[in-house]
């Protein structure tokens, strides 16, 4: 049960404010924002998602720079409220196509209507886009999103597949009709895996984990039933064996998930038998399945870092990155970062001869080396040499003074877990009914670091 819900912009303006129960004073959004903004000064670090000021509990979730906040005076389940906030953000995004300050402001009538339907007197009513559709009538105002064209938007992680996929699809609103008038029948199934790997200084893998999601976004009319078949050798849970028992798992080739959970619309009747999921997709985007794996996998990149001291005033850092996947796959938007010793004054970079689409930068403010690569083709190796200059005699160990090498990347059409969608079957209404089906794989880095 919540008392108020509001959305704040990055600057603290409240874009949307809805008071459900009138139990919390009006100025709560200012109190909240001041507390979050000055959290650093009072206590260490950032404000946690839940805190209490004068008996009012504030919950917040950050979504694309916006703060979604709920307040209440009673002792509720924190994860319920946090899940709810996340869900509200997703519903709004489903309706508006893109979620940002501009689109919220332009569609505030629709947003208020949504909020009234989602929550009544503090109690949650409906949060599925599908069901809300029958009660919400405002048409969204489509906001052309500049970010979509830039390489950072959500759509852009699939840029490699532009030929296969209409660029607008991911940011299309579920309720708005296409300008052409006819809705395109299509369904997207994205297998998104976030991988976390930590390499020790000698190049061994210390920890590795895959957090995967099968995300579905359906634009099908009539909500037909769908069958989604996964690898048959998929097994879930690992009986008595320790999770870190790498020894015998690698040879078998089976995909072993530690644990997974499913969306409520999924029927698991035949899952144990033939690994197929039956579901009636609701409109909008939702995760069909989340899974977690600690099974050993081949990391897509190997990072090699070498630090050579050349006299008291100089040192050279050599970073080598080798792509360990097949040459038909191309990774893109790769950024490699490494904090350098605080006393570094100047860095000069040396790329391989003939390097294209690579950028190097030394961020003076936080003494950080940044190496960006537009793409890496599988099987290739790239090297960066950075010459560091120090003002006076270097004190201490350079390796210890510089931090770990971290890497961010996306690899479309690649998944580390080898989980596959074997087929995607849509219950047919007629012979001619053949909607577009997109099954896309992508692997992203979550925390990909190498220690030195």
């Amino acid at each position: 049960m919540i008392s108020q819900f509001f959305v704040l912009s990055q600057r603290g303006d409240s874009i949307v404010f809805r008071d459900y129960r009138g139990e919390v004073q009006k100025g709560s959004s200012e109190i909240f924002f001041r507390k979050v903004k000055f959290w650093k000064e009072d206590e260490e670090g950032e404000a946690p998602p839940v805190f209490n000021v004068d008996g009012v509990n504030y919950f917040h979730v950050k979504v694309v720079g916006l703060l979604f906040v709920a307040t209440t005076r009673i002792n509720v389940s924190p994860s319920l409220i946090l899940e709810l906030l996340q869900r509200i953000a997703r519903v709004i995004k489903d309706y508006l196509g893109t979620l940002n300050e501009d689109s919220l402001r332009k569609n505030f009538v629709l947003v208020y209507e949504l909020l009234d339907e989602v929550i009544d007197f503090g109690y949650v009513q409906r949060t599925s886009t599908e069901m809300l559709k029958s009660y919400v009538y405002n048409e969204p105002v489509v906001v052309l999103d500049a970010a979509r064209l830039s390489p950072h938007g959500r759509a852009a992680i699939f840029t490699q597949g532009t030929k296969r996929m209409p660029g607008t699809a991911v940011t299309k609103s579920v309720v708005a009709n296409d300008p052409g008038g006819r809705k395109r029948e299509e369904i997207f199934v994205d297998i998104i895996e976030k991988i976390s790997v930590t390499f020790s200084s000698s190049g061994y893998i210390l920890t590795s984990e895959i957090d995967g999601t099968i995300l579905m976004k359906s634009y099908l009319t009539g909500n037909p039933e769908i069958r989604l078949a996964l690898n048959e050798d998929l097994s879930i849970g690992r009986g008595g064996r320790s999770i870190y028992d790498y020894g015998n798992s690698s040879g078998s080739g089976a995909v072993i998930q530690d644990d997974c959970n499913f969306h409520e619309s999924v029927h698991l009747d035949s899952f144990d038998l033939d690994r197929t999921l039956h579901l009636v997709p609701s409109d909008g985007e939702f995760p069909v399945m989340n899974y977690r794996m600690t099974q050993e996998f081949k990391p897509p990149f190997h990072i090699n870092t070498l630090i050579e001291e050349a006299g008291a005033l100089r040192a050279e850092v050599i970073i080598k990155v080798r792509a360990e996947f097949s040459s038909s796959i191309i990774a893109n938007t790769i950024i490699i970062q490494m904090p350098l010793p605080k006393y570094t004054t100047r860095v000069s970079f040396e790329l391989e001869p003939g390097a294209v689409g690579q950028t190097t930068d030394f961020k003076e403010a936080n003494k950080r080396l940044e190496w960006g690569l537009k793409k890496i083709v599988g099987g290739f190796e790239h090297t960066l040499r950075a010459k560091l200059t120090f003002p006076q005699e270097s004190h201490g160990n350079i390796a210890r003074e510089s931090g770990l090498v971290s890497m961010t990347f996306t690899i479309p059409m690649y998944n580390a877990s080898r989980l596959q969608v074997k087929y995607l079957q849509i219950a047919k209404k007629s012979k001619t009914y053949n909607p577009y089906r997109w099954v896309r794989y992508v692997t992203q880095s979550n925390s990909y670091v190498a220690r030195i």
Binding site: N57, K62, S79, Y123, Q125, E264, N290, P339, H395, S447
Partner: protein, 689 residues
């Protein structure tokens, strides 16, 4: 649809005059053929209840809701009826017998089973609601428990964390009495929880991690093999990392300490300063848990060699604590500590720790006296009371061990210390000798198992995130309402207990805080030591030193001499806020009077703290205070010297009218008048020079 919207708008108007127009439409709405309208009407009843209780009850709406709840085909209508009924009945329960009986029927077997059987129809949020309700249900036999658990098992695989946590709470509560099944439940819930941590947004994983933390506290063995899940990732927000570090400390045991500490050391070398600090503290905590101390001490000593200011500072504080617990490591540590230049350490806490070690182990450290001497030379640059105090005691300790070398330094230190008294006024001196108490920073450490159990009962609520029980939360909030920014006072009472121990109490973990009494205790203790250990010392020097020492202790000790009492109060009375509240509620008012303040008192009362200090001088302690000029409110308490009879006082002072209102409650009514006189005389002396 339109009927529903109209009804909702009508109910949302919070105007009492319109109530009569609401009853009719609501009654119709509850019987409407469309589920949407019924759904809105159910919440509408609750809204009506909040506007006008009597209208709602007179129209017999609760009964209609109950009927609807048990028979409506639409799950969301059922859920809304349930939440409305729960709220109405729990508000009613205090006033009417019938409502509390009605509330009981919600927990009856047929209702619970009816709801459980429809579980899958409910939306995920309604599922949480029902699960919360089922938690309160007490099954009559164990087969029922298994039925419920089998039915709900698949809820653990739900993607919504709230549902999973609610299910877990139910399972854990159901199996509390069955130890072996309880363990199986732990095993079963482990994997879903870990998945929730890694699949959601950082905010969600924060909420789940807080629950994991609670579980780990109860069953550390359970997660000890999964410690790698709690390794931090470099892009996680601070609050998640901090929780993970706490988890790592909690799961550490003999078998995994080495790996965990290795990992923590990596964080310590990290460039992210707050996290580096936190991880060093975590290493220290693990060391204090007594696992594999040998390796940890080595690591800590390596930190000292890293030559990063903050690392050194944190580590010094830890090494000090470790040495108190494991004196056998002193030789290794001292060798390294001795090499640290005091110039590099700026943080008062670390400096104090270093000075403490210098004093404690001066016999092993060759140049300890000289380091101390140079520190004393810079006495005036040292603003932190803690450092000054440690410096004084350290020089003393050093003096007893190596008199000839330290004599000069001691003299200088005492002189400098005395200058503090003469040059500045007494309040500065008090700051030095009786530094402001710090609030206990780690609540979890002081948490006793009782509180933990209570939190466990409130699993899946905010209590878990705040790590405080609900009752405790409320007291804290109420008191905070009185004085939001002065946390010290709240915790001060409990801390005084800790600080009273002797300075060099080997087993004491928390940094000692000195007040006037402990300094004089130390002085008398060392005096005894002195006569035994240093018979060869020139009598003149030693007596001089002791004179000075007593001189140092006395000004403070002699100021708070209580007024000639027919009633003696305990100067060190302790009472925790909870007991205070409880007593305040129980006891009748013994005396209540108005009293005018002296004009001097009014002038001096610019801030509540001034009065507190004054009253403490009369052995009357404050538990909470607040307000801004001209209105102040105080809660005081005092204890009789011989027996544990307490007096509680509420004192409201208005400085503009120089009036004060005093309410006194006492365990022992017969002495309340005497206490009242004492309190007034103490109050009247306030502001007098």
């Amino acid at each position: 649809m339109i009927r529903g919207l109209a009804l909702r708008s009508l109910c949302s108007l919070r105007v009492a005059n319109l109530v009569e127009y609401l009853v009719g439409p609501l009654g119709l709405g509850l019987k409407d053929s469309n589920s949407y309208v019924r759904m809105v009407a159910a919440i509408g009843v609750l809204k009506l209840y909040h506007i006008s209780v009597s209208t709602c009850v007179d129209a017999d709406f609760p009964a209609m809701l109950k009927h609807l709840m048990l028979h409506d085909p639409d799950a969301q209508v059922v859920a809304n009826c349930l939440s409305a009924l729960q709220e109405i009945w729990s508000l009613e329960a205090s006033s009417s017998e019938e409502a509390s009986r009605d509330r009981e029927t919600l927990l009856s077997k047929p209702v619970i089973y009816y709801l459980l059987n429809r579980m899958k129809e409910f939306s995920e949020w309604a599922q949480c609601l029902v699960l919360e309700l089922v938690v309160k249900y007490v099954p009559s036999e164990s087969s029922e428990i298994f039925d419920i658990m089998n039915l709900l098992e698949d809820r653990l695989q739900h993607a919504n964390g709230a549902v999973v946590l609610a299910t877990i709470k139910l399972f854990l509560q159901l199996t509390l009495s069955m130890t072996d099944v309880h363990q199986q439940v732990y095993e079963r819930i482990k994997a879903p929880l870990l998945t929730l941590v890694s699949s959601g947004s950082p905010e969600q994983s924060y909420a789940v991690l807080s629950h994991l933390h609670l579980l780990v506290m109860r069953a550390p063995m359970l997660f000890s093999s999964d410690y790698k899940h709690f390794y931090c990732q470099y892009n996680e927000p601070f609050y998640v990392k901090k929780l993970k570090l706490e988890m790592l400390t909690a799961v550490a045991n003999e078998s995994n300490t080495y790996e965990i500490v290795t990992e923590l050391c990596e964080y310590a070398a990290n460039v992210d300063i707050p996290i580096a600090r936190e991880s060093i503290r975590a290493v220290g905590k693990i060391a204090l848990q007594q696992y594999d101390v040998n390796a940890i001490v080595d690591r800590l000593l390596q930190f000292l060699e890293m030559e990063k200011d903050y690392v050194t500072a944190e580590t010094l504080v830890l090494v000090k604590d470790l040495l108190r617990k494991y004196p056998q490591w002193s030789h290794d540590c001292i060798a390294v500590v001795g090499n640290i230049s005091t110039k590099n350490i700026q943080e008062p806490k670390a400096k104090a720790a270093l000075i403490w070690m210098l004093g404690e182990y001066s016999q092993d450290m060759h140049d300890a006296p000289y380091i101390l001497e140079s520190l004393i030379d810079n006495w005036d640059d040292e603003h932190s009371a803690e450092v000054r105090l440690h410096l004084l005691t350290a020089v003393l300790k050093c003096f007893f061990k190596r008199p000839p070398e330290t004599q000069k330094a001691l003299g200088a230190a005492l002189a400098a210390g005395l200058v503090d008294f003469h040059q500045y006024n007494v309040s500065v001196a008090e700051r030095v000798v009786n530094p402001p108490k710090q609030a206990v920073s780690v609540f979890a450490d002081t948490q006793n198992s009782e509180i933990k159990d209570r939190i466990f009962d409130e699993f899946n609520t905010l209590s878990v995130v705040y790590q405080k029980g609900q009752n405790l939360q409320i007291t804290l909030f109420q008191l905070r309402g009185l004085e939001a920014n002065d946390k010290d006072l709240l915790l001060g009472t409990s801390e005084k207990e800790e600080s009273r121990g002797p300075i060099n109490n080997g087993s004491e973990y928390s940094a000692p805080m000195y007040d006037g009494s402990s300094v004089s205790m130390a002085a008398s203790q060392t005096q005894a030591e002195l006569t035994i250990s240093n018979p060869t010392l020139p009598a003149h020097a030693s007596s001089l030193a002791i004179d000075d020492l007593l001189g140092l202790g006395l000004p403070v000790a002699s100021t708070p001499v209580p007024s000639p009492p027919p009633l003696k109060l305990n100067a060190k009375a302790g009472l925790d806020p909870g007991t205070f509240q409880q007593k305040w509620r129980q006891l009748p008012i013994a005396s209540s009077q108005e009293y005018s303040l002296s004009p001097q008192g009014v002038v001096a009362l610019t801030a509540p703290q001034a009065l507190l200090r004054h009253m403490q001088g009369h052995s009357i302690h404050c538990i909470a205070s607040g307000g801004k000029s001209p209105n102040f409110k105080f809660f005081f308490f005092a204890q009789k010297a011989e027996e544990s009879s307490t007096f509680l006082v509420e004192c409201i002072i208005n400085t503009s009218s120089s009036k004060s209102q005093i309410k006194i409650k006492a365990d022992d009514q017969s002495t309340s008048q005497a206490f009242s006189d004492l309190f007034q005389s103490a109050l009247s002396k306030f502001g007098m020079p």
